[in-house]
Symmetry: C2
Subunit: 350 residues, 2 copies
Amino acid sequence: MTNPVLVEVLRGEHVESFHRGAWAVVDAAGAVVASGGDIERPIFPRSAVKVLQALPLVACGAADHFGLDDAALALACASHGGEPEHVAVAAQVLAQLGLDERALECGAHWPGFEPAKLALARTGEEPHPLHNNCSGKHAGFACLGCWLAKGQGQEFRGFLSGYVQPDHPVMQTVSQALEAATGFALRDAPMGIDGCSIPTFGIPLRHLALGFARVASGVGLSADHARAAQRLRQAVARQPFMVAGTGRFDTRVMQHFGERVFCKVGAEGVYCAAFPEPGLGVALKMDDGNNARAAEVAMAALIARWVQRDDDDADVLAPLLNPVLSNWRGLRVGALAPYAHFLASASSSK
Amino acid sequence: MTNPVLVEVLRGEHVESFHRGAWAVVDAAGAVVASGGDIERPIFPRSAVKVLQALPLVACGAADHFGLDDAALALACASHGGEPEHVAVAAQVLAQLGLDERALECGAHWPGFEPAKLALARTGEEPHPLHNNCSGKHAGFACLGCWLAKGQGQEFRGFLSGYVQPDHPVMQTVSQALEAATGFALRDAPMGIDGCSIPTFGIPLRHLALGFARVASGVGLSADHARAAQRLRQAVARQPFMVAGTGRFDTRVMQHFGERVFCKVGAEGVYCAAFPEPGLGVALKMDDGNNARAAEVAMAALIARWVQRDDDDADVLAPLLNPVLSNWRGLRVGALAPYAHFLASASSSK
């Protein structure tokens, strides 16, 4: 099955490149409201499912016990740019546990937000694990691990060691939440290692969208996971800077839409979203997965179709639907655009 | 026409992403030796045709007159990483003309080579036009412009101003060379503005490959352009660092293959190459064009098929055919690979 073209890249008025992909919009009953392309092939959702992976952190009581606030919970769902505010919140979570960045097993990389990267370089320092875009998620894992260790009467530093391994109690708990939300059995799923060293499981887009419809509505989740989903959506709506950062798609969308949209990018062209008002979940993956540019435009089109209701919404979405490409002298040389008919020609069960 | 899958991206043992594209291998008589996908649709070749754009610089005598050496000529064909050696050579060319970086109209950007970028940031300085990956090409344009001004008895600084505009004598001369080499009329071609502000013309892959078959063999070029092509290929073979930089595909390939391969990456997933031994030219474009990762693997496969002859060649190509993907902790998490049958299933006229 050849997936449809979702996004075109124009230079001047001519198509220079184009991106194919598949997408699904699903309700909490599991009905496919609309879709395009192959939504049954397992794909690695990468960082797009961080909110699902954070459900047990809140549901089990660990987040409340250790005093995680909105910023910390938003950061647990984040792929942040390593800006000083992100680093500070991750450090604070670890400090509340009596830990520091040495507890994190995500590895270090330079901040993704370019000015933060250059500023760090100018200080002469090197990046550490708190700059890793996943440091908030890993701080959340550490928090969950401390809670599990406490429940088992174990010393938490020793217990935490190796928490990124698939068979560690922390990762088992996280994977169970992912399986419960998506309704897809992970035991036989394709498995890979993610950028931050935790396992990533191949899950069909239809199931990922179902997981996000459940996050949107609470329907189909256990009572404690439904409450956790609502709490995490609220936290991100209140602290949208924490989920991404300066100028980033997810931050810009949620700064405006608040709890009306929860959206989250993943590596290799993945996007997932929960739309609470219509009670829908969305998942998409660009075939080429090369970076986020096309996935963002496709996600903007899906938000415009299922969430947008007034001119203010449209004004916020306009530059995300048609991002301008400028060259090194600042000249406008092109733009991205959703492929004209990708929503109109979608298959639908309704 | 849906272009075929050329490259797969594996995470663990599972296909995470894949890249479609089109490619053509053409001889100097214009025969399509092998191809895949749509090779008649005009595509923007971007920086992949810098060697064609440098032909008049050498052919008209400007390069010799102003004393451009191998490094300067290789840099004129380059998309370099902004390493200190690249910056120094570009500065030297301008100095030989009595100019400095203020003459360049390419704009400034941070060095593409990460350590050079961080090193520059640590000094507290900002990038200038010599760091632009196209600064060598633009220094070549300045050199050509000074020569043309001299021929017309004009003051060269005033003459140079606006040299990136399509109707400027410098750009007219460069575009005529591009048209002559590819045999594709640019008057009616799609036109866009490139990253460095010069025009880029939409040219079918079949014609781009023909242009590089002519560069490979000299056949079909005017005598002075044929000599210029040979001189430029020699210069890059002698100074392969200048054409790209540390760790880069083009540098690695030409450090080993020397004059047996001239290959050059372009933005948005374009690659062109000249293979002098079999007298072939190659051009490819990945549909998604998102970055160079897939185009490089496809180019490695084409070099392996049409140039490789012994174990040393194979050893150099092996890591380029199957680049390893590592995560932030240095764990091997995946690899890229040419799609198994993209060469075997190619259409061929021979």
